[in-house]
Each structure stands twice: as C-alpha cells, then as structure tokens.
C-alpha cells in the first residue's frame, strides 16, 4: 500500500497543472480542484486506517536503494495531520468557490487562485510526509511560495504591505533552515531522519544541542512561537478570508509538526523541557494579551492563534506520553476550530462589510445562523465543556499535573489564565459584534466623538446601522470621510449557501472531534507511544542491516 504515499503530493500538483491548462474555464477549474482534494481526503483516510493497525509506511522515491534516496514516511501522526489538513483544505475550497461564484471575478484573479491553492495543499502534504530533512525544506518552500502568492493576491495596497512583512520573515526562516541542514549534514553525514535518529546519538552532545536549537528556531519562526511571533498578526488579517482561514489552520501547524518530529525522533535525550516550557508560557500569555488589546475580529483571531500555539509547544516540552498525546490531539482540534472561526469572520465581513468591533452590532438578530456558528466556535476555542477545546486542554493539564514540578504548576496556571482570557476575548467579540444593537454601537462611537452628531458619527466612523443580506452586489463602499453617502450605508452582501455550508461544516467537524474524542485520544496516545519508542519509525524506513 506504499503507493498511497506520494498521492497527497502528486494529485494536487497534477491538479494544479491541469487547472493552469484549463484556465479559460472557471467551472472546469473548480471541478478539478474539488475532485483532486476529495481524492486527497480519501487517501488520507486510507492512511489512517492502515497506520492505525500496522506500523508506519515508508516509500523510497524513485526506487533508489536505501539509504541513498528520499523517503516518504507516514506514521500515525503524519496520517492524522494529513487527514485534518486535507479536510480543512477541501472545506475552505468550497467556501472560496461559493464566494467566487457569488462575486464573479471580483479582485481575485481566478486563473491563479486554484492552481496556487492546490500547490499549497501539495506543499503541506509533502511537509507532513517527508522522511528527509531536505525534503522537509522543499515541502516548506512549496507551501511558502504558494502562500506568498495567495497572501498578495490581487496586488492591493494593504496586501502588498502585509505580504512584504510575511515574505521577508519567511525568507529569513528558509535561510536559517538551509544553514541548519548544512550543519546537520556536516555533523552526521546524512539528512535522512531515520539515519539521523541513529547517528546523532554518537556525535558530541554540545554539537547536537547547537543543531537542536537551530532547528527549533527555524520551526519556531514558522510556528509563530514567542518571541518569533510578531509577523503573524501583522500579515494574516489582510488576506482574503478563505486564504487566512487555511493559513491559520495549516501553516503554523506544519511548523509545530516539524518541532514534534525533530524533538522526538532526532533529540530524544535532550527534550529541553524547562526552556520550552518557558517559551510555551510566554507564547500563551503574550499572544492572548495581544488579543485583548485588539478591536478587529481577524486580528483578535490571529493573536489567539499565536497564543494557542503555546499549548502545543507545552505538550512537546513535556516529552512524555501524556504530554505528546495531548499536543497531538490539541493540534487536530486547533486546526479545525481556528479555520472555522476565520471562515465565520469571513462571513461577518461579507454580511456587514467590516470586521472592526467598533463598527459592528446586531449581527445575531440579522443572521441567527451566523450567530450560532460563531458562538459554537467561540465556546469551543475558549475550552467550554463538553467541546473538543475543553477535552484538549484537560489532556494537557493532566499531563502537566503528572509532571508535578513547580514550573509545571506555573504552566497550569498560565494555561487556565489563557483559557479565561480567550473566553473574555470571545465574549467581548460576541457581545459587541452580535449581541448589542446597532444603536448601542452608535452610542459608544458617539461617546468617543462627542463633537459629531449621530449621522456624521455613523458615516465618519463607519458604524454599520443597516444590513442588506439580500444584496447581490456590494454597495458603494465608503472609503473617505468626505463622502456624502447616507448615514449607515454599508457594503453588506448576501451570505451564499456554499459559504455558510462550508463554515457550518467546519464547526460540525470540530463538534465531531468532541464526539470522537475517545478514539481520537487513543489514536494520539498510540502515536505518542510510537514516537517515544522511535524504533517503529526507524525500522519501517531503514530495513535491517542498513544503518
């Protein structure tokens, strides 16, 4: 069954090529993209079923003899990552198809979006499947380049600005990754992960520590771990809504996956528990405090994304079975819920023309379905029982208490405070965007600007007083204070079924994780056990005698 392994990479790349060939027909592009990503979900499901019973699957590409070639490896962790990421990519594709159909061309060039999106999916799958450090680098580059294009799609001013920040930071991390690979090769003579797992035991521990810190820094930049997290809230919010959703769900988690893989496989004797626990604590607290200060929904969600990366880093820092299984479960939960919330933010943007909390109000009355979606997602993210967020956080808290050191209890306090502040931020968003009436929103704006009368305040500050969910075309957007439009005129638009359906599907998946939490946690536990043992992975990749 090892022929399944290249498919998650190969199919999207072939689909992207086909989409470029079929660039005249948007409908053909949509069909090809949907079919390819559906096939990827099927392959990922098959890999889960295979690796759940048997051990890891390994394929040496090009039929090169071991250990000369490049290996693709799928163990339980990889299969879970592939399944969750391919589901997310598929659902966000449906969302963007719905948006594209409703808007016509808009400001997003259709010919480039679908091929780039498929290349992104191929890059993510390659990063998850890579059994070789340089192949991991190539996978990262594929997904990073696709993300550069998707982030700056349409060449608008704010996107170019945000894209520049993102591109430069990512180029720096790629440069560091190359330096790290050079150092690893110089020290051990190979870049194959299984071989490195064996050889790194024999080199000088100080050299191994340098390599470990280099790799952690590189993946920490990609995973937006404090103090390398400032680039994320600067760049994610300006992208189109589905693009932000898939970035938030996937790109940082690829960095977390790489950290988990290298920490458990390459450096099992040096888990760096204490420094990583401090890093996790700072990431959690700094991220959520950043979210508290924001007034834009997308910015708030970007900061909560950074903050919750801290939870996963904490699980990795513990490096015992409970911690790792908690981290793996948290990754699956967080990919789903963060994508779902960003899709809902995209729907809010569509329904009202803005995602600034200062201008929003009354969305729950206008669109109760949207209110339910946001509420379910927000409560899940904050960790309210019985949802998957609560289960994931409980798993990590139990692992921390199991460790029992004073620092672990500090982390427990940090995790609970972060959860509480996440709840506060989500509740603030709910009450300001959904619960209060538009006239209350106007009142608070007038409190800040006592010099204006109500009409001028609404127009100048852009408060959304009237929604028009039946509008197909966006109304004239007010971009200037001097505009003489009617007070409360807003580019509000209808919510297409495909977009609502996609967001609902993501929320349903996150609730499904709640229902399937038992089997999933068992799966994550087995994955953690195999990762700590390392021999299943190494024996699958390198046959006996080849070391």
């Amino acid at each position: 069954m090892t022929w399944l392994l290249p498919l998650p990479v190969l199919l999207p790349l072939l689909g992207a090529a086909l989409c470029l060939v079929l660039r005249r027909s948007a409908r053909a592009q949509r069909i090809v993209s949907f079919a390819v990503l559906l096939a990827t979900v099927a392959v990922a499901t098959a890999l889960i079923l295979i690796t759940a019973d048997g051990g890891p699957l390994a394929l040496w590409l090009g039929a090169w003899e071991e250990p000369l070639g490049v290996a693709l490896v799928a163990d339980r962790l990889t299969a879970l990552m592939l399944l969750v990421s391919s589901i997310v990519v598929l659902v966000v594709l449906v969302f963007s198809i719905g948006q594209g159909i409703a808007d016509g061309e808009g400001d997003t060039p259709l010919t480039v979006f679908f091929p780039t999106y498929l290349v992104l999916s191929a890059g993510v799958s390659n990063a998850f499947l890579a059994g070789d450090l340089f192949n991991l680098f190539v996978g990262f580059e594929i997904l990073l380049f696709a993300s550069y294009v998707l982030l700056t799609l349409g060449g608008l001013g704010p996107r170019i600005r945000a894209g520049t920040t993102y591109v430069v930071v990512s180029l720096l991390s790629s440069f560091l990754f190359l330096v790290a690979i050079a150092a690893v090769y110089a020290a051990a003579g190979t870049t194959n992960l299984a071989q490195l797992a064996l050889r790194l035991r024999d080199i000088d521990p100080h050299v191994a520590l340098v390599l470990q810190i280099l790799l952690l820094t590189v993946f920490g930049i990609k995973a937006a771990v404090f103090p390398m997290s400032a680039w994320l809230p600067d760049s994610y919010p300006t992208a189109p809504a589905p693009v932000t959703a898939v970035f938030a769900g996937l790109l940082t988690k690829v960095g977390v996956y790489a950290i988990i893989r290298t920490q458990t496989l390459l450096f099992p004797d040096s888990p760096l528990t204490t420094p990583l626990m401090w890093v996790a604590l700072l990431t959690m607290v700094v991220g959520i405090l950043g979210a508290v200060a924001q007034t834009g929904i997308k910015r708030i969600l970007s900061f909560t994304l950074v903050s919750h990366i801290g939870y996963m880093i904490f699980g990795v820092a513990l490096a015992d079975r409970a911690g790792l299984s908690g981290a793996v479960f948290y990754v699956a939960h967080h990919i789903t819920i963060q994508t779902a919330l960003f899709l809902v933010a995209g729907l809010i943007d569509r329904a009202s023309g803005t995602t600034s909390l200062e201008k929003l109000g009354g969305l729950a009355a206008i669109s109760p379905a949207l209110g339910i979606l946001f509420f379910a997602g927000a409560m899940n993210l904050s960790g309210i029982p019985p949802m998957s967020g609560f289960i994931a956080k409980t798993g990590l808290l139990q692992a921390a208490v199991g460790l029992g050191t004073p620092l672990a209890y500090v982390l427990v306090a940090g995790m609970l405070v972060t959860s509480l502040l996440t709840l506060y931020v989500m509740a603030k968003t709910w009450s300001q965007a959904f619960w209060r009436t538009p006239s209350e929103a106007l009142a608070s704006v007038m409190a800040r600007r006592p010099d204006l009368d109500p009409e001028a305040a609404a127009r100048r500050e852009g408060v959304v007083l009237q929604y028009d969910l039946s509008a197909r075309e966006p109304a004239e957007a007010l971009d200037d204070e001097e505009d003489t439009g009617r007070a409360g005129e807003t580019p509000s638009r209808a919510l297409p079924t495909a977009m609502m359906g996609a967001a609902t599907a993501m929320i349903v998946v996150s609730l499904a994780i709640t229902l399937l939490a038992g089997p999933m946690f068992g799966y994550a536990d087995n994955a953690a056990r195999d990762m700590l043992q390392r021999t299943p992975y190494i024996d699958a990749v390198l046959p006996a005698g080849v070391r």
Binding site: R161, V168, G189, R448
Partner: protein
Amino acid sequence: MSPLADGAATLRPNLTLIVVVAVLVATGVYLLLERSLARLLLGIVLMSNGVALLYLVISGEAKGAPLLGERPASEMSDPLPQAFVLTAIVISLATVAFVMALAYRQWQLTGSDDVPDDAEDALVQRLAEEDQTSETYDTDVSTTTDAEEDPDAVDEAAGVPVETGGARAGTSAAEHGGGEATPR
C-alpha cells in the same frame, strides 16, 4: 559519501571559504534590515549566496568531479551538498523574481518601495498613548494618568510629553460613556 559517513574523518573546513561566507551573510543581514525593498532584495541575494558557499564548506575536501567512470570513488568530491545547493539556488531564483515583482508593485502603488509600518500596530499604540478608555469604564474611579496631575509630565513609556488634549478627551469620553452606560 560525506567524510563522516564512515565516522572516521573530522571535517577540516577551508578557512577562506568560511570567512567569505561570514562576510556575505553579515552584509546580507545588514541589508535585510533596510527600509527599501530593493536593498532588502540585495540582502536576500547575498545571504542565499553565502549559504550556497556554506554547502561547499561542508562538502569537505575539494576533489574531482563526481562523475561515474571518470575516477575512483575516493577521488570524487561529495555530490550530495552540490545537489542541495542546486535546489537552493533554484529556490532563491524564484524568490528574487517574486520579491522584485513585490517591490515593483509597491512602487506602483505608493511611489517608493519602502516597507511600510503596520497601521493597526500604530493605531493601538496611539490609543494607548492617548490613554483612551472603553465605553464601560467606570467614571467614579478617577483616572490615574500623570497628565491629570501634571500637564507637562513626560510619559515614561513613550518618552514624549503626554498630550493633555488627548487625556482630556479621554476623560470627557469616559463621562459620556458613563452617562450612556447607566440606562443599560
């Protein structure tokens, strides 16, 4: 194979190459901190070339070309880092093309290719300096900013004289907000 494949030899790096790599990467990092995208791009190019040279360093002693049949294996230089470098050069080619397009687009939009500051960050900082309160702020509790007591006080955090106009607007907004809050 790499000089370490059999675990015997230790790498003896060429010092000249290492110094060249250091100079290239240092210059590249210095340029990476520039405002102008064109200079930033030059920095990226220098860093990429530095890393390519680094791979030459780690491939060990320079020997003959690694072509099968030309010479015995012991006289071949290590081909694997050369393959790495080729991949990295191709990736940096695409990077240069993309960043140049980005710089050109930025120049088209704004007339210069500077990397601008983040607008939201500036907004949050400005709100913090003005000591803006939210609409649920309780007006019974007096404000604690220095500007209330001493209009000429210097804000330690920002290092600039606190705008008393901003502080006054903040307190009057709080009063309005308090007045609005009570009927709720």
